[in-house]
Symmetry: C2
Subunit: 409 residues, 2 copies
């Protein structure tokens, strides 16, 4: 009797995580060595409750299911933020899960997510090994933050980067129309790593120099230096766009957003992100027209402007995970190993998932300009291949035709 | 000797205003009765300085100029916010302009813009008539706000509406992934009219009921009622999305944003838009997970998700303006007269531009639900045709290939 499989998704949404789900499903179907494919609703919490849907049936009943799943943003299976405890001291969840795996004749469990999810995959693989289970546990990376170690980059990052760069270019068109000096501060996601903010650099082209300034959380933010930077750029550029990470901190490690919010002692921390604070700084200290824009949630769900390169890689990372499982491997994460920037080439490999769990990758300091207000050519060469290609999205009534997610509503 | 023409753009940017510019240029070229086509840089202020570029040359030198212009967001010619004075008391600008028109052998002046720009077109036409000039002055409407009178809707609105509805649908996918109750407040542009916020309703489909609540500035906003609305919807829906206009006001006419900002006496008005204020209200009064998103500038420049219906109409409004000018008409604005919702049909007509100038059109109160927190089927039937169709944008290095605007930099 063929073994069944469970696939689950966890962490924050991306436009590419469902492409990885489609990749795993396609891998399992192409292999022919597996039975039922279950989708666990809302990550590992759904598995604990045996809250499954049959992905096998969905594919059987709808020829277009996988191709539409590939294009649908956020998590088709829902998500959770549930961390498994240490099995040495608290093994209740593990006993329960392995009973459920046994009852459902599970041979493999695929977890698509970020480093918290990789922690879950690692713990399950270790516990499974400890109790002599032959179930394979596989991790498939995703996060728009691009902060996972042991992989060149993470699926979801390229699509978020394409959205950010496109929006920055379009805002440049918006900005240039008036003949008066202006500063536009654009706040971009990334609390601890500057990968997403760095992607704004791709908006520069033969006619557009914006964003002229880019601030990442990897370098301590200095307000005086920022004011000087803006003044200096304004002396040669009429319209400035400044890309700033939500997570910029001063040299004491205090978030710029929080510092300023605390200062007014009214508990308005929720009212002032880094962009708003810097807008205020520019108005007070420079007195030029200034506005701030927070790109916000659309960065992680704008499926209509997904990067084809990104979705294809996401799918492949899921597909290849099945092959490793077929070879009996457990406790791994599929990863991208870049072999060349231009032409862009890469291999998919498997890395030890326990080494990915709970680790985080920052932007290398030598990819940030010495002045701390821009990124280098190495950074551009790194990001550029990841936003290439557009997806063939269909539209219905003028809107993207995504998969029905009423099972989550 | 054929007469030359000037085309100018003014007001705030839209993804469709360059399609109107392309339409005027194409109309003039197809007619064959006109000489040089000048683009006045930064609206009427460019004309006052004879700051022209030759659109004729740009078309001659680049076969793809018009098709790419059609797709490029914001103003290819730049913009201004310059209002002409009353010519009865201050005619300096007028004398100067008509001298410039004469010197450049101008036969027609086309102004693409909102109601301030229509004021300029109207005044120039009246002054021209007064001094016996035979120059024709034409207005072509644009504004994402959709608040011009005497036209069914305005170019730019459909594309902004498509961006808003698409983003709302994608944020619904983002919102549904967690199993915990949440409220997402989305602040949408429109200080005085709720047309853009109303467009969020199009995100609803067979699986998505969000936004469950929609608040427009046409109805006085009541905080108590809002809290009740949210509580009531939360009793039947786990994840709420609330669409709210930036311009909502209480029954005394005070902006919700400003009221709250004033309350803390720290001059932080710039820190709190309506969305942030309502986020705070929900957190304090309901205690559920809440976040706010301001769609901000991308609403008016996201050319990558333009509505084809919108760009086509924008182009046609420009094209048809030339025909009226050829018939010697001056002091008009081309306008859309809808003849049917479904199938959607319309005619282009010419209306008196002086009647459009400085007037504004609000959402009819009977298109807002009696509860004041939603819009009606009539509203949906009105907006739906305007977001139909996608544009065939080309991409270069992974980003939309817009026209080079280095002449504005």
């Amino acid at each position: 009797m063929k073994k069944n499989c469970i696939i689950a998704q966890s962490g924050g949404p991306t436009p590419a995580i469902n492409a990885s789900l489609a990749g795993v499903v396609k891998g399992l179907l192409d292999s022919g060595n597996f039975g039922e494919i279950y989708g666990s609703l809302r990550g590992i919490t759904g598995t604990l409750k045996e809250d499954f849907i049959s992905l096998s049936d969905l594919v059987k009943n709808d020829d277009s299911f996988l191709s539409r799943l590939y294009l649908t943003p956020a998590m088709y299976l829902g998500s959770c933020r549930h961390k498994l405890p240490d099995y040495n001291t608290d093994f209740g969840d593990y006993e329960r899960l392995f009973k459920i795996f046994e009852r459902n004749n599970i041979g493999a469990f695929f977890y698509i997510g970020g480093n918290d999810s990789m922690d879950t995959a690692a713990k399950l693989a270790e516990y499974g090994k400890k109790i002599g289970s032959d179930i394979c546990f596989a991790g498939i990376p995703k996060t728009i933050d691009n902060d996972l170690v042991l992989t060149d980059h993470t699926p979801g990052y390229g699509s978020a980067a394409k959205f950010i760069a496109t929006s920055m270019l379009e805002m440049a068109h918006d900005t240039y129309i008036y003949g008066i000096p202006s500063v536009t501060i654009v706040e971009i996601m990334g609390r601890d790593a500057g990968w997403l903010t760095a992607a704004s650099v791709l908006a520069r082209n033969e006619y557009n120099e914006t964003p002229q300034l880019i601030y990442l959380p990897e370098v301590a933010f200095d307000e005086e230096r920022f004011i000087n930077d803006v003044n200096e750029k304004l002396s040669t550029h009429k319209n400035l766009i400044v890309a700033v990470s939500e997570g910029i901190r001063d040299k004491e490690g205090n978030y710029i957003a929080a510092t300023k919010a605390k200062a007014d002692k009214f508990g308005h921390a929720q009212l002032s992100g880094a962009g708003k604070v810097l807008e205020h700084v520019v108005k007070i200290n420079i007195g030029v027209k200034c506005r701030s824009v927070e790109l916000n949630i659309p960065q992680r769900c704008a499926g209509h402007i997904s990067s084809k390169a990104d979705l294809d890689e996401a799918m492949l990372l899921g597909y290849e995970a099945v092959k490793h499982v077929e070879n009996g491997r457990s406790g791994f994460m599929t990863a991208i190993k870049r072999t060349s920037d231009n032409p862009y080439t890469y291999n998919i490999e498997a890395v030890d998932v326990s080494q990915v769990a709970n680790a985080a990758k920052s932007v290398p300091l030598d990819w940030i300009s010495p002045s701390g207000n821009d990124v280098t050519e190495e950074m551009i060469a790194y990001i550029k291949p990841l936003i290439q290609g557009e997806v063939a999205l269909t539209y219905k009534d003028g809107l993207p035709e995504y998969l029905n997610i009423s099972h989550l509503v």
